[in-house]
């Protein structure tokens, strides 16, 4: 009998997903071909804000290859209004947090007004996408243009055009949270700073755009929809509601998904419209979003303006932090208060701040709707707080790292009650971590602070400008409300696991096989994982908010615990012993200390069957399956420190990243190779936000970044190798001790880079309080010593 084998959890197992993806045998929604399938093309608004006077589909309907045309006005007659599908707010949050939220509902196709460039108001379905686009060009629409609401501050001014007239205002939400007495503490603080920080709009840019294929089956009156989505159960629920069908008759599947990063994490109008068209026309319908569409209709993110006041003493201790900010929601707000309250919840970061107040106002504008994207409100918070920390350091002539240390919560203060609640309504409690330790490690990984200052001095003497910047954050992960797992042991002895998570590249087929293999002491190849399919498990939540490793592992753990009791009861019956004498070993259930007395799991599964000659003891029902819905008590807290050294060319404004390090803690790690991939990937997306990526609109609401020539994502030449240092403070909130990490990498880079560039240009007295940092801004700052780039 072999010694207990090494656990799979913690090992850098190679991925099961790789084989098909490397061979070009992955199946993404665009690859799906169904008999008699038709292709949809949307007609999208060229104007930012206008009333739709008329839409003439006649020429399009007569075009070659066209099967069906539909305008928003017509759809309004065919389908009842869309039910509210924003994320529900927990009662505990609603009763604790001051808020006022209006919910503008988005029509599946715009009928009365268009509210952003790119909003669809008609759709053509034809034999090919080519033919559909030809026909779409024949649709004649008449618009009465309205003034475009582009600047969120102007949107709140009296006399501004109103995006959603039924509200009479563009202020669609207000939220606030506070602790202590920020106003009083500010007034009494020995020093005060006030600044505005602007985190501009950018987004996920997955290389696979969105896409939906739907097929209605007349025989069973059921519908299957394949969507490049992160939330199959939510899509299924909304499709069923919209089409007036029972959920049991709707199946939603996500095939291989080419990146999501949050913006595929909610239900889009196309998710509901394509199923409607499939049923209406009686043939499968495919819609694949192209990149140009994607940039103007898949959700954007970030886009917050923060007015921060910070009070501090001579030692750099933060006495008060007050932040009033605007969130530019765009034309709709699919996730309601989610992103904005996330910002509020993360503003205090890893710091001890006794007096805190944050007030958010969410503003509707004529831009693409704003939804969560990797970080989801946390990068905006980090920009405000971490720039403020550097400004405090500058005011006192202290090292920025020193100001951090002065204010960081210490490990011996854990668990630390922050004093405000999280999005789930639970009081925020930091559950472990060594923030200053992470700071030390990140600085060491870029060569050390003292060594850098020497290097910087020598470079300055040669007319070269190097700078060091840091960005620290905490991150609530593994949010509820729940995730589901079904664990079933097949008569073959294989363990079958289904879960509500929806992968988009994270390696979940591998990660959860590792977790299950350990839970059942089987070989990893004896685990079968099914995800992203509503037919596999009745209820699921999906993959957003860095939650799947935490919540699905826990659900698997609890389901396995319950199932194990049944397995031991049946095995005990077969082995004629007591269940308390048994253990799992190598795919069998055996008597502890007796190597020869064991029964394979396959035999237990066979014995569990119903019918004659089963092997179950009295009182044990048939079947060997358990489904558990894990409801996390609250979020568990990851954290990290990013450190970056930049070289700035003040002649051109170019920024080169010289070194980059991340010191990161996500608790217990299931697969270290995959964890590193997530952190590096997130970090480079963050670098994008710091130096390259921005959605720009002109005053008429025209999107200036409508192609990949204008919207610039980082390439391999734009980023250096990134050093990673790992810390481990296991989570006390779930059986495995894991924490989430999917988003973290993207949180700190914009502010770390801003801090680094400011450090490089310290002789010029330059500040960088917005993202991305543009070359021209740097040149002007160096020329003028100006503090803000006038936009």
């Amino acid at each position: 009998m072999a010694a207990p084998r090494a656990p799979f959890v913690g090992r850098p197992m190679l991925r099961r997903e790789d084989r098909r993806l490397l061979l070009g045998e992955g199946q993404y929604v665009a690859d799906l071909v169904l008999p008699r399938m038709l292709h949809a093309a949307f007609v999208r608004s060229p104007l930012a804000h206008a009333r739709i006077r008329s839409v003439d589909l006649s020429r399009a309907a007569a075009a070659p290859g066209v099967a069906y045309v539909l305008s928003g006005m017509q759809l309004a007659q065919l389908l009842p209004p869309v039910p509210d599908h924003q994320v529900a707010l927990p009662g505990k949050w609603r009763t604790t947090v001051k808020h006022h939220i209006l919910n503008p509902q988005q029509a599946l196709l715009a009928a009365d007004k268009v509210r952003h460039v790119g909003e669809a108001y008609a759709v053509v379905v034809a034999e090919s996408r080519y033919a559909a686009e030809d026909a779409a060009a024949l649709i004649e629409a008449e618009f009465d243009p309205l003034p475009a609401v582009i600047d969120p501050e102007a949107a709140l001014a009296p006399g501004a055009a109103i995006v959603h007239e039924q509200f009479g205002t563009n202020l669609i939400a207000e939220l606030s949270a506070a602790k202590g007495d920020a106003a009083g503490a500010l007034a009494q603080a020995p020093h005060r700073l006030a600044r505005r920080f602007h985190h501009e709009r950018y987004a996920a840019l997955p290389i696979e755009c969105r896409g939906v294929v739907s097929e209605y089956d007349r025989r069973t009156q059921s519908l299957t929809t394949w969507s490049s989505t992160q939330v199959v159960h939510w899509v299924r629920r909304e499709v069923a509601a919209t089409l007036g069908m029972p959920e049991a008759r709707v199946r939603c599947v996500a095939l291989d998904v080419g990146g999501g990063f949050g913006i595929k994490g909610h239900v889009y109008p196309e998710d509901l419209l394509i199923p409607f068209l499939a049923r209406e026309i009686g043939r499968p319908v495919k819609w694949i979003e192209d990149r140009h569409e994607h940039l103007m209709c898949s959700c954007h993110s970030r886009d917050q303006i923060h007015d921060v006041e910070i009070g501090f003493d001579d030692t750099g201790r933060i006495l008060a932090f007050r932040d009033r900010f605007l969130a530019d929601s765009g034309a709709f707000n699919p996730i309601g208060s989610g992103v904005t309250y996330n910002t509020i919840a993360h503003l205090m970061g890893p710091y001890r701040i006794d007096n805190f107040a944050a007030e958010a106002r969410v503003v509707a504008t004529n831009k693409v709707p704003n939804a969560p994207y990797r970080g989801a409100g946390r990068p905006e918070a980090a920009l405000a707080t971490e720039r403020a920390m550097d400004l405090v350091a500058g005011a006192l002539g202290m090292e920025p790292a020193e100001v951090r240390r002065r204010n960081m919560i210490r490990p011996d203060e854990m668990p630390y009650k922050l004093g405000i609640v999280y999005r789930d309504g639970e009081p925020i409690v930091y559950d472990g971590g060594d923030y200053a330790g992470a700071l030390d490690k990140a600085l060491a990984a870029v060569g050390g602070l003292a060594a850098f200052r020497e290097r910087q001095k020598a470079a300055r003497a040669q007319g070269r400008h190097l700078g060091l910047g840091i960005g620290c954050y905490t991150e609530g992960t593994g949010a509820g409300p729940f995730e589901g797992a079904t664990v079933r042991i097949e008569p073959s002895g294989k363990i079958y696991v289904a879960g509500g998570a929806c992968p988009q590249g994270q390696g979940m087929e591998t990660i959860f096989a590792q977790v299950v293999a350990d839970a059942w002491q089987v070989d990893i190849d004896d685990v079968v994982v099914t995800l992203a399919d509503t037919a596999a498990i009745p209820m699921g939540f999906g993959t957003v908010a860095s939650r799947s490793t935490v919540t699905l592992s826990a659900a698997i753990h609890h389901a396995s615990d319950r199932l194990r009791e049944k397995v031991f009861a049946i095995a005990a019956n077969l082995l004629e012993c007591g269940p308390q004498d048994l253990e799992l070993r190598n795919g069998t259930v055996g008597v502890i200390g007796v190597p020869d007395m064991a029964v394979p799991l396959a035999k237990v599964a066979q014995a569990a069957r119903p019918g004659w000659d089963h092997g179950r003891p009295a009182g044990i029902d048939a079947g060997l399956e358990d489904t558990y819905y894990f409801e996390p008590p609250t979020v568990t807290w990851s954290y990290a420190v990013h450190a970056v050294i930049v070289e700035v060319d003040i002649g051109t404004g170019g920024v080169r990243l010289d070194r980059y390090a991340v010191a990161h803690d996500c608790g217990v790690v299931v697969n270290p190779m995959l964890v590193e991939g997530q952190i590096i990937g997130g970090t480079v997306q963050g670098v994008g936000g710091g130096l390259f990526e921005r959605f720009a609109y002109d005053e008429e609401g025209q999107l200036l970044t409508g192609s990949l020539m204008d919207y610039l994502a980082p390439t391999a030449s734009d980023v250096p190798d990134i050093a990673l240092v790992h810390l481990h403070s296991p989570s006390p909130l779930n059986p495995l001790g894991v924490k989430g990490l999917g988003e973290g990498g993207a949180i700190a880079p914009p502010v770390a880079i801003a801090n680094a560039v400011a450090d490089a240009l310290r002789p010029f007295g330059a500040e960088f309080n917005s993202t991305p940092i543009l070359p021209e801004q740097i040149v002007r700052s160096a020329q003028q010593g100006a503090s803000r780039w006038p936009k």
Partner: protein, 163 residues
Amino acid sequence: MAEPVTIRLTVNGEAREGRCEPRKLLADFLREDLGLTGTHVGCEHGVCGACTIHVNGEAARSCIMLAAQAEGAELRTIEGVAENGKFHPLQQAFHEKHGLQCGFCTPGMLMVALDFLRHNPDPTEAEIREAISAVLCRCTGYRDIVRAIAAGAAAMRKTAGPG
């Protein structure tokens, strides 16, 4: 309505034929007419590189080529890289070094890397980064792709032998 064109070409060593509108993009022709969906479309702007294939041995972006331009050409797509289901050393390296996450850019990355390594079989990290700046990846942050290509190049040099 334009006259359809017949296109005869070789794909992954096999003679293939198709008939389509002259405006049909080569990427769509491969995916729809020839059923080779391993080549992915990420932009149609000619920027993201996910659609990269080999045309007459050289990397090219299939979303900005007409299918008609491939008449008489020899194409290689991702489906033609492995041999009888056995990974090419570069694919094996991607697997071992975690050079892919969602897999959508991966065929483009591999095709660019294969062409690049033909001319530069022992590249530096900077040279690899420059070569693959032709393909956008959102998942990996590039580090593990660079390591995979370096490892794949080493394995390929070993198989190629000295001289």
